[in-house]
Symmetry: C2
Subunit: 420 residues, 2 copies
């Protein structure tokens, strides 16, 4: 059911594009109580870097509580005029709501800068994990020389695993595209999987490309695509304090730098960026905390893009509908209810709703009222682990998609005891 | 920990005030598959009526999908000039999103009007249950004569049980107060317990009083108190299609009719109304679907009432915080996160947070940063089934309270398979 795979995919995640190296290790930011020297641990810190300085775009959470790493990353990009070379990221601790948060985040950049012999403002930093616990800097001090020493082109998975928290799978996607007869590559990695509700960026997302794009155009493309991908994703309605997307372009492909939205090359680049971000968004939704099903709500027939987005998101965010999908119960009244409280004007008496999966499609509501349908067919369709909800407002030509997941016992279990 | 019990409480719910009768029966609106003649069924329909015509105020859901009963109730009150005598209510079927919904709701009023020999526009109607299933009128036709025949002063519990859906307890509260040396009584009943998120009214709520109050003042008091009680309640963020509060005043107490907000009697009446509605709100929160704990968030130190409400509600609505409370985990970072995405302006660096219950109080955050606290003490406090979260913005003198409950396995279980 994935419609977002028109370009040639390649392996390599954030190392897919030319000139990007990565590394990741376990340094013990949060050492489990039952730890022994023999214990095998998931990576909890990573570094990635470009052989050439990158034009860099970024988007940050709209939460008023902002993680210290975001403040430092933002300040560094301002100082460097939007240029970056390396990014350091840790999991297990968000370094947020701590009195010494900014100081520690700055130290992380300084440590990398010194070891790599580059300017500190060209190092960006991100953290994810528990909010409000002091970040121990000692394990990071020990890890940085190892991370720098281990940097290599094929180590994207070391980094992708280091940024995982409650994620059950690594999230990477990369594509090739052609500009001016020159092959460009764009790839990324992301982490979920709870505290996810747009307003921007949703968790940590890093995208690298060798395509030459001016800083201004890079930021424009990123902001535009974030709106229809990450910002259309919701796992639990909680907008995180540490959400960030960073997009780095090192110009090592041979194309002429894209400098205007009017160039045909811009559309090609934007399509590649959309495809990578849409796929990472789907992966985030499917691996939402405790999720057993990916939910995709397509709202069509709207008289504006914004309205289509608002309505698709409202359905995806409905706790009741999410629980019904977990139970494989075609309780479409909850879709209507969620459409009804969306902040948008439309005629509810024109609304059609259908549910579909690879097992078929069933119309459940026509002109705002229920239609007879076979519960057996509905049950069959809802057995799938990827469900599409189609909402047609029948009043215009705009559409949008929002992504989410079902609400399960495991979500409650995971979040009833997250800190231990 | 209940602070809303300053007035003398009395028994009787909606029959506590003079001249109000009720009755309730099981009529088989949704006959379970495993039904046998021996099966004892919970009441699914009720009627209540006043001996004298009532001034009547009402507030309805802001969901654009409105249940047919709301449309009919609203139209009837317009036709009758805000007068009512009787209310008929069924559970098990919301009569919403059905092509024949309005017709059926109107038939329910007509049936009661004919049997009681009153005007149909003085009968109000409400329904709660599954959305989008055609309401069977036959069992209701058979039930109405029985309901009318059985009407009596002490039968409030028959009605309170008839409006329950997934509620585990009946919700009734009534108080006495004194105006002009005359004893007045005001009481109500409510049903929960899922699809609850303000924007008004939250579920079905009926309040009756013998106090003489003009229609205009009645509506004013109701709208004002709804804002700080039911509209500060959230179980799951889903605003129902059938939410309604009806307040009926039959003037059978001896007081002079309250006609202005400047009369001292108005404040006395409003206090009684607040106390009944605040207590029903607490009961709804505590009996939220699957809930094991009542959560009360008190936001103080705000520079406006609206801001205090927005912030208290944001905390109560956080899925992640609700799950943490179920797990009795003092994960206060999620409180800060929820404050941070509330739609309000304030300085996060001034915010203090404390958690309390009957087992004690613990400060977890000061000036926006974590403070050291004993996890053992926190665990002890969170064992309670009533938790208070105190958020102080330290920038003004307004406060507000919002009510909710924890997110549990049982919420998922109940809502994964609601229709069967």
């Amino acid at each position: 059911m994935n419609k977002y795979n028109t370009l040639k995919t390649v392996s390599g995640g954030i190392c897919a594009a030319k000139g990007f190296k990565a590394s990741g290790v376990y340094c013990g930011i949060k050492r489990p109580a039952n730890d022994t020297p023999e214990t095998k641990h998931k990576n909890d810190i990573c570094l990635f870097a470009s052989d050439a300085e990158c034009n860099t775009a970024a988007v940050y959470t709209q939460n008023k509580v902002k993680g210290a790493p975001l403040l430092v990353t933002k300040a560094n990009l301002e100082k460097s005029g939007g240029k970056s070379i390396a990014v350091i990221v840790n999991s297990k601790n968000a370094n947020t709501c701590n009195a010494d948060g900014v100081e520690k985040a700055q130290m992380m950049c300084d440590l990398v800068a010194e070891e790599m012999n580059i300017q500190s403002e060209k190092v960006l930093v991100a953290s994810t994990g528990v909010i409000g616990q002091v970040l121990p800097i000692e394990p990071i001090e020990k890890a940085v020389p190892i991370l720098v020493n281990n940097l290599d082109y094929g180590k994207n998975e070391e980094a992708a695993s280091a940024i995982m928290t409650t994620d059950t799978v690594k999230k990477e996607y990369a594509v090739e595209f052609n500009i001016d007869g020159c092959t460009c590559t764009l790839g990324g990695m992301a982490k979920g999987s709870g505290m996810i509700h747009p307003n921007m960026a949703t968790t940590l997302n890093f995208i690298t490309t060798d395509c030459a794009v001016s800083s201004e155009i890079l930021q424009k493309a990123l902001s535009e695509i974030v709106k229809v991908t990450y910002n259309c994703l919701s796992i639990d309605g909680d907008t995180s304090t540490n959400d960030m997307v960073v997009l780095m372009a090192n110009s090592l492909a041979c194309n002429k730098e894209i400098q205007s939205v009017d160039e045909p090359a811009y559309q090609v680049f934007k399509e590649a960026l959309f495809e990578v971000m849409a796929n990472l968004t789907r992966m985030l939704a499917k691996d939402g905390e405790g999720a057993s099903k990916l939910l995709e709500c397509v709202c069509s027939g709207a008289d504006s893009k914004d309205k289509a987005i608002v309505i698709a998101k409202s359905v995806i965010c409905s706790t009741l509908f999410k629980a019904a999908m977990f139970g494989e119960d075609a309780n479409w009244g909850r879709v209507l209810c969620a459409i009804g409280y969306a902040d948008a004007e439309f005629d509810i008496n024109k609304v059609d709703v259908a549910l579909s999966s690879e097992y078929g499609t069933i119309e459940v509501c026509k002109n705002g009222s229920g239609v007879e349908f076979s519960e057996e067919t509905a049950a069959e369709i809802l057995k799938s682990d990827e469900i599409e909800i189609h909402v047609n407002l029948n009043e215009g030509n705009f559409d949008a998609t929002a992504w989410g997941c079902d609400l399960t016992y495991d979500y409650v279990k995971i979040n009833g005891d997250y800190r231990t």
